[in-house]
Symmetry: D2
Subunit: 343 residues, 4 copies
């Protein structure tokens, strides 16, 4: 079969003909119907410095955001059958450590990672442990299913922000995950969502998703948020998805007293914090997020998508066949929402 | 001034000319702009057996769901000023008991009750302790403000149901509070809301608010809910607002394992519960609700209303001048949503 | 090997010589070092009416509260090895249903039950799915380990009571689980625990565990609790472990406004509840408990035991060899705490 | 009366003869029976650079940690009477802002501060708004009562750490608040508490309170905590009370995945954080604490003290009459726990 493979730690990737996956007794084989390009794929494709932080196992089939049909199941698989339409959780929990025992398998002490240390899915077929396969509800498309993993990051971010009804929420960064977060925050009761970015294409999408769009390069984010906040004095919750170190210059100032911050974006350099003033006197709650709760986050997201309360496909701006991978990996750096590979 | 007064514990009430209220140092005087009829007012008006459960102080000006303009403030009042547009919390907390200290003043050990033990507001002017006055956000009408108290019951019910994104929620009883609850449950992330009643007029309103309407007199509520629930096996949360003893025949059966029930409606007779099977083995969480958290519930509701995420006025079906009180108190027994008095 | 087996649905059980267990690929074999008699075992032994509520598969090896050494593991077992000292969770979750996905596998939609629908452990060897084996920390004895399952019920009950520091807690029923609950409630911050029973032997044990003992047959539980509660007006939390229908005559009266009730005990007949007065106006939170959260409850308990913060062995009053099973099953009806089988 | 007064923003303070306080209608007058020296008092006494961060109103009577007898009450005071024994909350909430409405008056937008912007209590008599007076339970001494405010900081820190039964807790800083925190963490269910400091006198006290003492100047805190943590990989919760910037070099390393940090200590300079690695990938929850929840924190603490579950007085090492204030303010820099003024 054709697969987009990275054979060594240098820039680039190649479309190779390789054997279809052979299953362990606890794995399933998937015919891939849609795959989405994630920031991690981009790091690996260019093999930029951030890549070296990941436990990559070569040769690596790229891609971990995908959906497809189960075409074969291992001998010990229960609960997943041939013909099931599934999406896939990237974090493969060991099931035996302290974290897994506490229901925190999304941050397992001995975690496998699809498309990083475990083979990915930019290919005709992929394999995956059955325990990380999530059945798609009827009425949810493969494209939507391929976005459950990144939209799940947004869902988890919103869940951890503990949105109260009527909250003012600020989403920092309006890339695909930010656009999902804007929709989800509104769907779960935020009265208003402010979307912040410096890219006008993304800000227009944010506005289209229902956010008040603020261009941090052109106006003061603090002023803009405080104006909306009125007597609250700041946002009830801020979800940081940009990874831009600059946002930490104002992230505490746009928050109300006793407000909540959720950080998700990977920030390229250490930031400076005045613990007394910015954290303690302010009474801040802060939560760092890595991955999706299995399957709680997925159930939340899946129900919202199936009920048409949010529109994942609206964030997709480009679709390519796998053969056009070079063009696809160029497109993600331009004006783009989510970029998909479709067969 | 004109006021609708009940002078003794017998059926009926009278429109009397009485002095305008004189203030204590911690009270404010309100020019009433809209007042809504509550079930308690109906009990008192007819002086039915339920009335005797309440600590009524005669003579009593009826009415506690209202909004208006502050026209005078007592000497020690801070934070409320002449000209403020306010709605009023019915539960007057003492501020000194164990409950009040824990932030549970809505269920104070020594509570005053507007329109019951403290003078009400079906009149040109009313007075109220400043500590239970809630300032209306700009853009919220007096009519909406007069509904904050009953809609706050719905808001609290939904808050206590701890709706997770995508939850299936059942609202039992589609009177005004049920109709508010349907809207609110959807606004805070329920994927689907089922509204149950036996009155077709109310069920049509429920459907109009976005619920799947089920007539308990015509079809099996258990079958209807289970069909929607699919693999969940039942609703994630049930909010009981009907007060009908009959619903306890099926309330546990329509709930999924480990689901949540919130009971608010006043049930006229004791019900029978199989603790082992219906509570323990099922893993039910149940919360009884009396009143609104001060001011948390109000802030949630107020933000949703101001942002037009819910439409309180859509539940109003009739408006009368105070002079037509006899007609108004007849109307509430017919096909009606909420019935208001407007000057 | 010798095993205590029930071959048909009639009173009694027999000590039979049977084959040692043969393992599926996901199971482990355990040399049993200590086993405790549970109320369910007693129901089955006498085959009383309650027995018919359970999905018993004959022939059944009795016993599910136990600890021992792993002596063999199936081919696919990860995380458990020969030589591990383990205790066993009775509830075998399917891992694939909605409940399991939400981390509520303790109340799985398709649950196996050790010693009921799956073979038990009153035998020299037992087998069990690896996923319900819990490794004992060093320093914890087999006897203590055999009590993790019932003490886990107490632990879960206390966890669900959301004890705040300084809470007044009432434990209804001072059998073994009640005695565990008394210890645990104190260990997690209750300022005072009241233990209620009608058996003086048990009440003495309760007092020894640090509770204020109240004999419901001799004094008013309401008066006794209210006296301790002072300005709280009642207990902050009540944990019902007795299963006695009579306690529902006063369970709401001993609770403060907005207090919490956890029900665990299996009540033999339906009880009557005044929803308006006892649940709603009182603002009660109620949670029904079935089983232990996997592994959260176990981790909590295990840490407390390993740190000697609670003393499980102190609840054991009798130990028998398996051969003396008739005497053991007589003893549980007399003055007894927990009764164990030891090799 | 005699009072320790600071008249201008320069080092030092003077014992002056001044008028006894005159009451507003909402205030009470207290005969001071015990007062404790807080870090803020020390800043003001020396008028060091940190002093300028506070909204001091001169002339200022120093001292805000105290207890005494109510000897007079203002005309509008309810719930507090002459003869009551009280302690005092330092944070005076306005009662009208968004924070106060949400029950977050401890971090009010318009807050008064006893002993800073409102007169303090190192004097024979003090006055205070009735709404920040907390009645001492019988059996609690004035000395203990004078420590409720600082011990309340510890109580709040532990509350916000959401200690689960059996948690491993690290307390950074073993000054008086750290010593309270160690006791409280144990009382609410921590299986083990590690106390970290660089002062041997304080570490001995910490050990005496039940902590495992670690001297950060002599050994690796990371190694020490990881050794205790075993398979947890780190502490479940860390409570930072030292204010030492150095602890942020290792605070994330001593925490397990998905662990909780509470920061309370005022850190003198900004610290550097790697958000990706130290917050996000680690899944950290962090909460900044300023003040005590009113009255939730106080109720928790008060119950634990009254039940003798913690020993506040055990942290007191020195007592002085007010006349010896110079010696007292010297002593706090030496080997000392808490230093009190007693009449």
């Amino acid at each position: 079969m054709r697969a987009l493979v990275k054979t060594e730690p240098v820039p680039g990737a190649a479309l190779l003909d390789i054997d279809t996956p052979r299953l362990q007794s606890d794995e399933v084989k998937v015919e891939v119907k849609a795959g989405a390009i994630c920031g991690t794929d981009i790091h690996f494709y260019h093999w930029d410095p951030a890549s070296t932080n990941f436990p990559v196992r070569f040769p690596l089939i790229l891609g971990h955001e995908y959906a497809g049909d189960v075409v074969e199941v291992g001998a010990d698989v229960r609960g997943i059958a041939v013909g099931d339409r599934i999406s896939v959780e990237t974090h493969i929990p060991c099931g035996a450590c302290y974290q897994c025992g506490l229901g925190e398998g999304h941050n397992c002490q001995d975690m496998g990672l699809v498309g990083i240390s475990y083979p990915g899915a930019f290919a005709r077929y992929a394999k995956v442990p059955a325990k990380v396969a999530f059945k798609l509800p009827s009425g949810v498309s493969y494209e939507e299913g391929s976005l459950f993993e990144p939209a799940g990051v947004a869902m988890r971010g919103v869940d951890e922000a503990h949105i109260a009804p009527g909250d003012l929420v600020v989403v920092l960064g309006c890339g695909p995950i930010g656009l999902f977060a804007i929709q989800i925050a509104r769907a779960v009761g935020a009265s208003q969502v402010v979307g912040v970015d410096i890219n006008e294409f993304r800000l227009e999408l944010a506005q289209h998703m229902g956010a008040l769009a603020v261009n941090a390069a052109k106006e003061s984010v603090v002023d803009a948020v405080k104006k909306v906040a009125g007597r609250k004095g700041g946002a009830d919750a801020v979800i940081e998805l940009s990874g831009a170190p600059e946002v930490f210059d104002y992230i505490f100032d746009i928050l109300r007293l006793e407000g909540r911050i959720v950080t998700v974006g990977h920030v390229s350099r250490p930031i400076s914090v005045n613990v007394s003033k910015q954290i303690n006197l302010k009474g801040v709650s802060l939560k760092g997020v890595f991955g999706r709760r299995i399957w709680e986050t997925w159930e939340h997201l899946s129900s919202l998508v199936a009920a048409k309360r949010i529109d994942l496909a609206g964030v997709v701006t480009h679709r390519f066949p796998l053969e056009a991978f070079e063009e696809a990996f160029r497109q993600v750096h331009g004006d783009a929402g989510k970029v998909l590979f479709v067969p």
